[in-house]
């Protein structure tokens, strides 16, 4: 291709001359690991997905921080705080979610070795464990209701339902991402399977950490 060599020459010269912006400008937006790959129009750079998920995680952290600070604030200022006994099954659920994260890491290791069959199996296990966690959370709700704690019973129970509910909703989004990685035909897709699995795993592990944080908050704050 005659075009590429010129472009590469220009790049060399840019680095020599530096232009008007700064004395020694760092490379532009999309070099780095990908070099000149993204030349033609509409060829997506896969880095954007990893960036996006990190940015989204920051945003979700802020969302839950607002909720957590509301919890701490209400806890500290309420003189009618009724302590809350967490149903035992939430501890089992936590274990299930941790196992799911573990299975996902194992499966990504298989993928990096090129073993797609094993990857699929382990990935499926991670997804199933995710579903199991959600089912477990529903059981926890059920036990809570049977014990006579509704959303409107007191402030602590309101917080329990909203924390578990919103975490569950975000986790459901994660499950959709996991299913996408399982069933998408990556030959036609814009992203490679490795990138999709990596991005989904960031989010999934984050869901894990988020749940442990919320659980600790509910447990210690009771």
């Amino acid at each position: 291709m005659p075009g590429t060599s010129i472009v590469e020459d220009i790049e060399l010269i840019i680095e020599d001359i530096g232009g008007g912006g700064g004395k020694n400008p760092p490379p532009g937006g999309d070099d780095g690991d990908e070099g000149g790959k993204r030349r033609g129009p509409q060829v997506p750079s896969s880095r954007r997905y990893a960036t996006a998920i990190v940015v989204a995680i920051v945003s979700i952290v802020m969302f839950f921080m607002a909720m957590a600070s509301a919890f701490i604030y209400t806890r500290a200022n309420s003189n009618r705080w009724v302590p809350l006994d967490l149903p035992a099954i939430v501890w089992v659920n936590t274990l299930v979610l941790l196992l799911s994260s573990g299975a996902m890491e194992l499966s990504r290791r298989r993928l990096s070795l090129g073993d797609v069959r094993q990857f699929r199996k382990l990935w499926f296990a991670a997804t199933a464990l995710g579903f199991l966690f959600l089912a477990g959370q529903l059981v926890a709700w059920r036990q809570f209701i049977l014990a006579g704690f509704y959303v409107s019973t007191n402030q602590a129970s309101s917080f329990f339902y909203i924390f578990t509910g919103l975490h569950g909703l975000h986790l459901l989004g994660g499950i959709c991402a996991l299913l996408y990685v399982s069933f998408r035909k990556f030959e036609k897709a814009k992203v490679s399977r490795t990138v999709a699995a990596e991005v989904a795993s960031y989010y999934w592990h984050f869901m894990d950490g988020l749940w442990i944080f919320l659980l600790a908050l509910l447990y210690l704050g009771k």
Partner: protein, 579 residues
């Protein structure tokens, strides 16, 4: 609809090899960043007109409470309708105009163009954000017309939806700026507009999550009877005053954490736009460009930490007002750097006083005027002496509402030739500028005075009983409002007329500006840059280059020795191909 389709008519052969899109793909589901950006601008235009009409109703009602306003009278129970009117006016102006127009409108249109990208990072997400914004506008409007109880629930849900849309837009902006810049578009070379959009996206991402959480709490209280804000359980055995302050302060904390920073979300892109316009029409580089970028970051950072200044009287820890008032005062530092940078740019410059520049200068004037009263509000001891509704209303309308509107108008006059290949009429534009400029000062300066006056009143006076001077001031403000709103007809006339009949510009770069959007035809084709990827060789503000024929250099202009080397190389390649 024909208006935004214009963008696509001249796409020509530069479009990437895609099949011709169907009707729905071109209209409802069009993911093009320019189409979406324009649609946000249309949405903002509709909202600002409606919001202005509502403010007119409010002013008329304040001066002639007995007057039967057809629109308000039809709903009965006027006091609640008045509150609903204020809420509706505020939500339209803050969300759909001040947040949407400078960031989502101009940002969507020009951010990819200015950094040399062909599209936003996630076009489909962008489309979703847009329609969610439209839905939230619909919800807020509908909330005004239904029963107040249902209306508030609907309004809260609409705001939550708007937050979601704003978050996704911010995500898109951040990733686009980080990952889609063209070759050579290093961070120091980015235009200040891009910096402002980028910093603003990060700030939005952090604060709209907070408002979303607050809305979720409120919705859950209203729909599921949860007990986040509900006072019923422990109001009973507390002294009344104490209970009220602790109870409400959870909502106040969440809300003001968002709302104070939201002011900077509206202002940051405007700072960027104004710096850009001042530099372009002074034909000089932005003075201390690096410091200006740092100041933009500083505004974002400090703006995040000053929410407490709204809560001086709500039972905070006695030390925290001091901290917040220090933090709020320290916002003056980045603001000063920005103002200095603007004046430094204007110093000794060959200023081109066209309408876009006038609006940018008007922004500086309004920002300074409103900023000075902000100093009073940031001091916890002075607040006690000056705070009252009218003072605050005057302050934030000058510094946030009107100033940002001026920046939006300046941006519109500046980029109109790029978006529509026609120019807005300068004479009408200047007339509109001067009338509006005089009008807004006449509306909002007396409001500060009214606010101070309300405080001099001996204690316990009813809000309606004001002095004859106050009453005549109020009437003056109302007449000024009517005139200012009427002056906007000039703008509408200019806008609509110029869209179809305005002076055509064949020149892709009529302002002789330097950024990438001026290097492509107007309106830019789908994919923005044709088949060749743009390459950036220099910083944004290279004006008044000595010894050159022109007084500006496009960012894509290759340095001269390089140009020659390139030509030689191409010639050599052509000859090798031929042989």
């Amino acid at each position: 609809m024909a208006l935004w389709m214009v963008t696509y008519d001249s796409s020509g052969g530069a479009a990437p090899e895609a099949p011709h899109p169907g009707f729905l793909a071109r209209t409802l589901f069009n993911t093009g960043h320019k189409v979406i950006g324009l649609r946000y601008l249309w949405l903002a235009l509709g909202s600002v007109l409606l919001g202005m009409f509502l403010s007119l109703l409010m002013r008329i009602h304040l001066v002639w409470p007995g007057a039967q306003i057809p629109f308000l009278w039809g709903f009965g129970s006027p006091p609640e309708r008045y509150a609903a009117l204020t809420l509706f006016h505020g939500s339209l102006m803050v969300f759909l105009v001040l947040t949407a127009a400078p960031q989502a409108g101009f940002g969507n249109y020009f951010l990819p163009l200015q950094i040399g990208a062909r599209e936003m990072a996630f076009p489909a997400l962008n489309l979703f954000s847009f329609w969610a914004t439209v839905a939230s506008l619909g919800g807020m409007t509908a909330a005004f017309f239904v029963h107040p109880g249902t209306g508030l629930t609907l309004w809260t849900a609409s705001v939550a939806l708007f937050c979601l849309a704003a978050l996704l837009t911010a995500l898109n902006f951040t990733v686009t700026t980080l990952d889609l810049r063209a070759k050579g578009m290093t961070l120091p070379r980015m235009p200040l507009t891009v910096w402002a959009w980028f910093i603003n996206a990060i700030l939005s991402m952090l604060i709209f999550s907070i408002l979303l959480a607050a809305c979720v709490f409120l919705l859950s209280d209203r729909l599921l009877a949860s007990r986040f804000f509900s006072p019923l359980t422990f109001l009973s055995n507390q002294p009344a005053g104490l209970a009220q302050s602790t109870l409400l302060s959870l909502w106040q904390r969440l809300f003001w954490f968002f709302a104070q920073a939201e002011v900077y979300v509206a202002m940051l892109p405007c700072f960027g736009i104004v710096s850009h316009l001042l530099s372009t029409f002074s034909r000089k580089p932005v003075w201390v460009e690096r410091a200006a970028v740092l100041a933009l970051c500083g505004v974002g950072l400090f703006g995040f930490c000053v929410w407490g200044l709204h809560m001086f009287s709500s039972g905070l820890n006695p030390w925290s007002p001091l901290v917040f008032s220090l933090l709020a005062s320290s916002l003056g530092l980045p603001a000063c750097v920005l103002v200095l940078s603007w004046f430094g740019t204007l110093w000794n410059a060959k200023i081109q006083l066209n309408t876009a520049m006038l609006f940018a200068l008007g922004f500086v004037s309004l920002f300074l005027a409103g900023g000075v009263s902000g100093l009073f509000l940031a001091r916890n001891d002075l607040v006690a002496a000056s705070i009252s509704d009218d003072f605050v209303t005057g302050h934030f309308h000058l510094v946030m509402g009107v100033a940002a509107t001026f920046a939006i108008l300046g941006a519109l006059f500046f980029w109109f030739p790029k978006m529509f290949a026609r120019r807005l009429n300068e004479t009408l534009g200047k007339l509109h500028f001067w009338l509006t400029f005089a009008g807004v000062f006449c509306v909002f300066m007396p409001m500060h005075w009214l606010g101070l006056m309300a405080h001099w009143r001996p204690s316990g006076g009813d809000a309606i009983e004001i002095t004859p001077l106050g009453a005549s001031l109020r009437t003056f403000v109302t007449f000024a409002t009517i005139l200012t709103v009427a002056a906007q007809a000039l703008f509408l006339l200019n806008f609509v007329w110029s869209l179809w009949r305005g002076e055509k510009t064949d020149n892709p770069n009529p302002w002789r500006a330097t950024t990438l959007e001026w290097s492509v035809p107007s309106p830019p084709p789908v994919g923005n840059f044709g088949v060749v990827e743009p390459i950036v060789y220099r910083g944004t503000y290279e004006f008044s280059g000595a010894g050159r024929a022109e007084d500006f250099v496009l960012q894509t202009a290759a340095p001269a020795p390089l140009e020659r080397a390139l030509q030689r190389k191409q010639a050599a390649e052509r000859s090798t191909k031929e042989t």
